[in-house]
Symmetry: C2
Amino acid sequence: MDFDLPSYLRERAALVDAALDCWLPGENLLPAALHRAMRYSVFAGGKRLRPILTVAACEAVGGTPERVLHAACAMEMIHTYSLIHDDLPAMDDDDLRRGRPTNHKVFGEANAILAGDALLTEAFRLLADPEANRGCDPAAVLRVIETVARCAGSQGMVGGQVVDMEAEGKSIDFATLQYIHTRKTGALFLAAIQSGAWLGGGDDVQLAALTRYGETAGLAFQIADDILDIVGDQAALGKDVGSDQARGKATYPALLGLSEAWRHAEELSELALAAIEPLGASAEPLRAIARYIVDRTS
Amino acid sequence: MDFDLPSYLRERAALVDAALDCWLPGENLLPAALHRAMRYSVFAGGKRLRPILTVAACEAVGGTPERVLHAACAMEMIHTYSLIHDDLPAMDDDDLRRGRPTNHKVFGEANAILAGDALLTEAFRLLADPEANRGCDPAAVLRVIETVARCAGSQGMVGGQVVDMEAEGKSIDFATLQYIHTRKTGALFLAAIQSGAWLGGGDDVQLAALTRYGETAGLAFQIADDILDIVGDQAALGKDVGSDQARGKATYPALLGLSEAWRHAEELSELALAAIEPLGASAEPLRAIARYIVDRTS
């Protein structure tokens, strides 16, 4: 219980930020406008939770952060691309993200679409980068790429977004809500954790434990997100509160009520902790993150 | 000179079509609307030139078509995603593509953006697919993924599209035009050819020859495209002619004049032929394609 999570998150986020700055094409490279747009959203003050999960999963199986920093950056690029596209006028039509104007508000719609496309593409380039993967088993690297693509694609994150949009303003059942959340947020969470474990050299038993952790913690995170959209502090969140409700979005609190949704998130967090109990001290950061996910205020 | 290109193109396109149907998620899988949108544009009657180049490059180094069909499909998915996004209202705002309503006209803007995202993601999943790559050297597979991503990303295809949009209605120099065309079309051409050569087991000398072929044939193809936009037959092309000019697009004929542009395309086609001269009989399909690229009417 003595684990200092704030310091851990700050230090790992700093590693991720430095790596992102190193791997993302510079604004001096052509086309400068595109690279500016990509960097604008990547460096817009995200919590870096997904890349930190990649690092923490690698550490949990005995690897070093440096081993997986490129994969961690790829997760953040994919997350950022999905936010840029979700914010577009044709989708959620959001003007603010993390307290700043959204990408298309600053760079225009066409550049925002292309900046998202380029971030997604660059993520896969980085996952396959020979320099970054030096010393990794090529078969493990391929497994990571296949998993990340599956989790981010039409039956993962993108699929979740489609069903989420279809559900807007409609009354949906619990199974559909579960479908949306396990894909829209959960899938990339899981990919981030599995990538860290594979590249860190984890064995099958560790992989199974971390997979269970990823599934439960990812869903807990999304439920907490839904709750914060209702009870959260606008300044801390950097976005409008109550926006889900205004849009008739499918959420856990809308379907279960606030207290029941909260209870469900806590329960999932406990399941995540139980899943990685056998991993010992090296999984302490993941344990603290599972608690933080449901206790955070932003 | 006896090589029967129409039969070759028809047979290889049939292989690619069957593989695409096999690899693309079915319309019975959730979310059905997304998979319908993805399949709508993939099966909208394209020539399959990029995937056929992957197959032909593999055959040129002694491999079989089956060895690279998944990579060939990935090229067509990336090409299709780029067309769907290029056609969006925020970009070229096209209503017709290959004689049919564009993706966003049928499925709406949000679904078109997400269908493009999902096709790009699925392409990388397929390139890393363990089943499809059975028997391939994992290091070669990683090299293919890195190359495809580099050619499709911010300093490749997406970068070319950004600079092309920036140049609309402006007078640009030859170097900028070259920048746009080598990236917007040429980069994916090159990736298609190099992927086929690597997965087919080509050696460094063969790779260098095919790279030179890809660079020159890709540019020749784009110049011929520009020319067809002026002198082509609307019915054969399946799109409006004169659209580049109406938009003030940067093209070779606009900068060099029609006859000089044509001469340049012919010259590039000759360079492509010279590059693969040492490859012998197995490169006959690629030779016929280099001639066809500048002689086609659609």
